[in-house]
């Protein structure tokens, strides 16, 4: 069944600096169209929430990098070893724990990947991005468990 809804989204710069997105939708007078129309408009209304989209991205970086480190560096891709994730979701903040079964490491010994010698390297940017994009990072003593804290606003 093809959708009978005519739909259009446009971003307009209204006044100085504040961009307003305009969504328009034209539907025939059929109550069978209501559910789809409502879902479509709501999706666009909520997508406009910039701070949420930025939080989504910061979560993506934090989780992707920590999981990759746990799997590749910690567990050395040994499929019999597990990685455990624990997320504590509170109204104001999110705490993400990622724990592997590896030997751990000393995070203070990891150099910044920005120097002229390092910038041409193929790795070493994961922890750096985590530190830049989350609000706080902690490790356990062994170094096989990272805790990343993100404030929701």
């Amino acid at each position: 069944m093809t959708s009978p809804l005519r739909f259009c989204v446009r971003r307009s710069a209204a006044g100085a600096g504040t961009a307003v997105t305009i969504v328009t939708l034209s539907i025939p007078s059929d109550i069978a169209c209501i559910e789809e129309a409502v879902a479509l408009v709501i999706r666009h209304c909520l997508a406009g929430d910039e701070s949420r989209e930025r939080l989504r991205f910061r979560l993506q970086v934090a989780l992707s990098e920590a999981l990759a480190n746990a799997i590749v560096r910690g567990n050395r891709e040994d499929r019999t070893k597990q990685v455990n994730v624990r997320a504590e979701l509170a109204p104001e903040q999110i705490r993400l724990h990622v724990t592997d079964e590896g030997a751990g490491f000393d995070p203070r010994r990891v150099p910044e990947p920005l120097g002229p010698d390092r910038i041409l390297g193929g790795d070493g940017r994961g922890l750096f991005l985590i530190r830049r994009l989350v609000d706080a990072v902690e490790f356990n003593d062994q170094g096989n468990s990272i805790c990343m804290i993100l404030l929701r606003r």
């Binding site: 930025r54 992707s64 193929g122």
Partner: protein, 111 residues
Amino acid sequence: MSFTQSRQESGVVVFRVDGQLVVGNRLELKDLIQGALTAGDRKFLLDFSHTGYIDSSGLGALVTIARQVRERGGEMRLAGLNDDLRSLFELTKLDTLFSIADSAAQALAGF
């Protein structure tokens, strides 16, 4: 996740990254571009307009690939990064290493 390869009349080879460029698929992209280098291509454009995410391994792969291209006398440009992805290049100072255009069209215009 996939890579779509196409060739401009000007000889520029365009790779479009659909989905993500991450630890799980970066080697595929490396292989594709090494293959093109071996075949004699020297101008590459990576189009990220359909890319949702690049992780640090993906960034690292781009650095390595760009170095190989340069060693063979070629050039690699990037285009179509959304604001979030561009911020990863800025945080890691990789924006100083790459030629990054807003759109593939803009990157191709000057190639």
